[in-house]
Amino acid sequence: MAAPKKSVAKESGQEKADGSHEPLEFTREQELTALRDMLLIRRFEEKAGQLYGMGAIGGFCHLYIGQEAIVVGMQMALKKGDQVITGYRDHGHMLACGMEAKGVMAELTGRHGGYSKGKGGSMHMFSKEKNFFGGHGIVGAQVSLGTGLAFANRYRGNDFVSLAYFGDGASNQGQVYESFNMAELWKLPVIYVIENNRYAMGTSVTRSSAQTDFSKRGISFNIPGEQVDGMDVRAVKAAGDKAVQWCREGKGPFILEMQTYRYRGHSMSDPAKYRTREEVDKVRHDQDPIEQVRNRLLAAKMSEQELKAIDAEVREIVNAAADFAQHDPEPDASELYTDIYR
């Protein structure tokens, strides 16, 4: 595995001079799915931001706006039975996994109808049914846990893959490398998806990381890695396909560094003074993942009206979720003492 990056690239046959890949072209159906799923996350997060401002959501609330192409593109590369786990910026991951907006929003407002009956909140939600394993508030913990999910797949001899998402900040945690070591040692089918949004809370990657090319973070363990344009859902899907195939074939873990950007602060309470307004606006204007798809669809002769219809459908789901989340009752007081032991 001397040059893993190349060996994978050869299989895809689309290698460019710099070792990266042309994004696969999407069918119209795929473009529409991607657009709808990304829009759902965008509108959901905007609404969550509003509800937070109104005091309906408490505590920490980390929005995923700007990063939508990653979870949506990766989900398109998975099959039923694959597992997903992530950190605290998790709303987008849950929606992409097919969890209902209503249940996620009601968890944000701490209501009984939330995915964790209101006991987990924004950072701690799970769905056994959708194979979503959280939602973890401790930076980096999900990397070992996700490696454990892959361990279970290998133990059971199935061909499922686990996706462990984490950020550029978590990439500096020690347990990440402990996990890398064991994952490669035991050839565990786990894809480490590093969502590099350039800031770990308020600290930019250049101020926190000696090696800012996160795709290389697995080199000392012989784990192949690639940098991916995380703002282009087609590039994400293409990279996801390759990584998934690598894992399903029993070749061990794979690292994907998704280069992305979060438009909002680290959390709702972050004024984001560590970067300029211009920097944010430039990414929004030039690279927005949703606008990219929309523009391609318009260029392919889809009408504004058709696109508006998708937006309206998504808004309806989000509004219904917000309505439910504000009217559903809080958990019964008796729930205080349930779910501590089985």
Partner: protein
């Protein structure tokens, strides 16, 4: 003068071993570094290297000898110019052994009752004074009892559960090919293979997290920590991930996992390797915490822990691994978690302890009996959930209570027991509850200081007398 070769100690807790083989004959010349003999403990076979040059003069302990005490002279080496005739000049073997043997004395003071030498499988050890044990309700009368070490009881418990459930596996440092750092997992690799008996790198935080992740996916890992001292590196995964996930997921996603390994002080391994985590873990809702004392309880409770759908911290004690006890010969001996056991009945004072603390408690009860004080000794066995009922019922009878623990006193388990007694049996108390505990210091290395830092039988006796106003 001829040099004496002494029976070496091969681990901090070794007190005896078998001399399995001599590799040099009398009269053969020996260079420093030569392997002269093989010694076998209950954990391993080790080679004895000569540290001196000369000729092997006389073999004092023939090969095949069992239970040779550490520091017993096993041979003499003649230096250049000395001959067999000089052998008479060697001091008598007994006198040559360092005296007093401090290490042994310390271990003795902390060994379980009736087991002067905790690391021996010990048919020759002095018989344990019979505790007036209440029959364990889980064992049918007339059940055949098998004597085995706690190490074997643990191994059997894991093997039985692994046979029963293919989702159970063990992972940890040196659990497979090395057969366990303390030989607790001996033979498991041979029976279950490398898929289910997994050597990990030295990476506690990482493999604890992988274990929890595998448990969230439905497997039932047994995660062995070489000692719980090293589990501090893994505490985030144990508490934040394993203990809290069921609650945080509204009951959807649980974690059936056992974290086990030796806890507390071994012997002469100093502060970083001698810490009791009873209080630390038993504070956390979502965890169950088990800390047994007897061989039967080690087996029955570990089986229950593995089956439990919750994360269980199973605190073992290295000093007890070689201690033998009777284990009921039953197809499936499972002791429910959360039930204390009255090991000795008495009406004058209640002594509550668990794990190795029981060794002080039981010896103290013997001492007290000589002075006419009948102590009721409760082995808590499970610290969370705590069997408050059994403690309170006993205190209502005796009116007095002493707690015994090796851990520190502040916010300790003894403090919790005292609080519960106050809450539930205040009107029955004839004296304030007394606590005997480890001293409020990091564990020192020096033998005398280490002994002082730990609880002692004398302290338990004094505390019991104090609450009896005697």
């Amino acid at each position: 003068m001829p040099i004496q070769v002494l029976m070496p100690a091969l681990s901090p807790t070794m007190e005896k071993g078998n001399l399995s083989k001599w590799l040099k004959k009398e009269g053969e010349s020996i260079k420093s570094g030569d392997v002269i003999a093989e010694i076998e403990t209950d954990k391993a076979t080790m080679e004895v290297e000569a540290t001196d040059e000369g000729t092997l003069g006389k073999i004092l302990i023939p090969e095949g000898s069992q239970d040779v005490a550490v520091n017993t002279p096993i041979a003499t080496i003649l230096s250049d110019g000395e001959s067999a005739a000089d052998l008479g000049k060697a001091p008598a073997p007994k006198a040559a052994a360092p005296s007093p043997n401090v290490a042994e004395e310390v271990a003795e003071s902390r060994s379980p009752v009736g087991e002067g030498k905790p690391m021996i499988d010990a048919p020759k050890a002095p018989p344990a004074p019979k505790a007036v044990a209440e029959p364990d309700p889980e064992v049918p009368e007339g059940t055949e009892m098998v004597t085995m070490t706690i190490r074997e009881a643990l191994r059997d418990a894991m093997a039985e559960e692994m046979r029963r459930d293919p989702d159970v596996f063990i992972m940890g440092e040196e659990v497979a090919e090395y057969q366990g750092a303390y030989k607790v997992s001996q033979g498991l690799l041979q029976e279950f293979g490398a898929k289910r008996v997994i050597d990990t790198p030295i990476t506690e935080h990482g493999f604890a997290g992988i274990g929890v992740g595998a448990a969230m996916a439905g497997l039932k890992p047994i995660v062995e920590f070489m000692t719980f001292n090293f589990a501090m590196q893994a505490m985030d995964q144990i508490i934040n991930s394993a203990a809290k996930t069921l609650y945080m997921s509204g009951g959807q996603m649980g974690c059936s996992i056992v974290f086990r390994g030796p806890n507390g002080a071994a012997a002469r391994v100093a502060a970083q390797h001698s810490q009791d985590y009873s209080a630390w873990y038993s504070q956390v809702p979502g965890l169950k915490v088990v800390a047994p004392f007897s061989a039967a309880d080690y087996k029955g409770l570990l089986k229950a822990a593995i089956r439990d759908p919750n994360p269980v911290i199973f605190l073992e004690n290295e000093m007890l691994y070689g201690h033998s006890g009777e284990v009921p010969k039953l197809d499936d001996y499972v002791i429910p978690l959360g039930k204390a056991r009255i090991v000795r009945t008495g009406g004058h004072v209640t002594i509550v302890s668990w794990s190795n603390g029981m060794s002080y408690a039981l010896k103290a009860a013997d001492e007290l009996a000589k002075e006419g004080i009948e102590a009721e000794v409760i082995d808590l066995r499970t610290l969370r959930p705590m069997d408050t009922e059994t403690i309170v019922a006993s205190v209502k009878k005796t009116g007095r209570a002493v707690t015994v623990e090796e851990g520190w006193q502040q916010n300790g388990v003894g403090a919790e027991i005292a609080a519960r007694i106050m809450e539930h049996a205040f009107d029955y108390l004839d004296a304030p509850v007394a606590r005997v505990s480890g001293k409020d210091v990091p564990m020192p290395y020096a033998a005398n200081l280490e002994k002082l830092a730990l609880p002692s039988v004398a302290e338990v006796v004094a505390a019991a007398k104090a609450v009896c106003y005697r």
